[in-house]
Amino acid sequence: MSVRPQVEPPSPDLKAAETRSRLEAILNLSRDGILVIAKDGTIAGWNRGAEGIYGYPAGAIIGRQLDILVPYDRLHELTEIDRSIQRGGTIQDFETVRLRSDGAPIDVSLSIAPIRDERGHVTGALVIARDITVVQRAIREAAQSSEKLSDRERMLRRALLALRQSHEDAKTTQLQLVQSAKLESIGRLAAGVAHEVKNPLAVILFAIDYLADAIPSPDENAITALKDAREAVTRADSVIRGLLDFSTATELSPTTQDVNEVLRRALQLVRHALTKAHVLAVEDLGDGLPEAMLDRNKIEQVFVNLMINAIDAMPSGGTLILRSRRDRMTEVGREVGVRKTDQFQVGQSIIVVEVEDTGTGIDENVRARLFDPFFTTKPPGKGTGLGLAVCKSIVALHGGTIRIENKAGGEGTRATVVFRSIRSREGRTDG
């Protein structure tokens, strides 16, 4: 018998002996460790379960101080437990670490209750210790597994995000390919149509010119008829040429260019239109702009187009304002990101060109369709509806953006074109 629990005083009564025997059987059959601790902290009782958990036989431990079972860094627990027990409190399922006889730490769950004498004074404590090492190990393993699972989940989420992004990129590329294929088809069609239509147009125009020369003294009606016919040919030719420009917008010959120089050349080309419409041109061009890789002719075409649109928007005269400046993409936005596939990268050096008019501005419904091919608000014969569609294609081919918006306050319209710059004036590579 290894347990000497002082739960009942010895009694000569047979019934009491039987009770004691039952109690001892329960104590020794229990797999939980059951310890009796005296008021001075010595171990006074120790069952077989305690032997199994802590590794000490009863003979080796009874009479020793309880702290032999407690790791150094947990000795403070004894004081707290003792204080609680002395006040008559009980402790349930206190999970902690204790030491085996070989020094190995074990996870235990302790339930502790005070032992009282017949007058109710606390004389010691009964400790039930349950080995939860396996449970704790399982919990730790579960936690580790959970952490691994979380890691994997994070990885999967990242992979999913990357996959979604790739999907988006693929969709964008597909759309670009479709767009490019469409343009190519239109290009082939336009080239064919141009050849087939331009020859008859040339015949008609030569015939009109011949008739104008050959008719000795044409009456007023004949003169009007010839004039109208000539204008009709010019209109038809304008549509065909616009279509050809639209179709050839897919081919670029970019070289290093000074954007301000291209702007000034474009301005020269619209001088006549400016004078005719009583429009004043104001240049506000930034100094020392970095250069850009541009197809000069095509970008000049874009600028001319934007300037002509601005002039047309001011039939009663006004001011055409040309601005250019260097800038840098500072934050992620609709066309700005951090990936190489983004149109612009954060931190990228850019050149911004603005063409402003002081006209009446544009209706929002019109603005939404401005870049649609064959959409025009100009009177018949004045616009083919391909100008801005061509501009957008050309700018997009340069990796740039173009947008048109009403100026704040509704006093006119501003077209903004953004290009990537390649090199600063000091020769530093920016993009």
């Binding site: 141009a194 239509v197 000539r230």
Partner: protein, 133 residues
């Protein structure tokens, strides 16, 4: 004073007919050839001061016809102006009607512009060679 001789090589008979009438009305001597393959033969016979040559013709390429004409000693200095239905307005405007050193006129074009082109091209030729045409 001899008339300026202009040779039109284009597969579109109505076009050459109309242009011939207009140019003759303005005092030029005009010969027409609607088959590009015979362009060189006609040019040798006619010895024009200037040739208008269509770029795209059935069976023969305007560029090849031009190369044949230029390789002929009697015709090597005769200016050739290409007539094309495939060049866009922007291209001709920006390049000043000269692409790759070669003068182009984009159809449709007015007779006035054709006449201006003849005068300008022949004036440049005179300046270059220093000889009267």
């Amino acid at each position: 004073m001899d008339k300026i001789r202009v040779l039109l090589i284009d597969d579109e008979p109505s076009l050459t007919r109309m242009l011939k009438l207009s140019l003759e009305h303005r005092g030029y001597e005009v010969r027409v050839e609607n088959n590009g393959a015979y362009g060189l033969t006609v040019a040798r016979d006619f010895l024009p001061n200037l040739i208008f040559l269509d770029v795209i013709m059935p069976d023969v390429d305007g560029g090849d016809v031009a190369a044949n004409i230029r390789s002929d000693p009697s015709l090597k200095d005769v200016p050739i102006v290409f007539l094309t239905a495939g060049v866009s307005k922007e291209t001709t405007r920006v390049k000043g009607n000269v692409i790759g050193g070669q003068t182009y006129l984009a159809k449709p074009i007015s007779v006035d512009e054709v006449v201006r082109c003849i005068e300008k091209t022949l004036a440049q030729g005179k300046k270059k060679t220093g000889t009267p045409s």
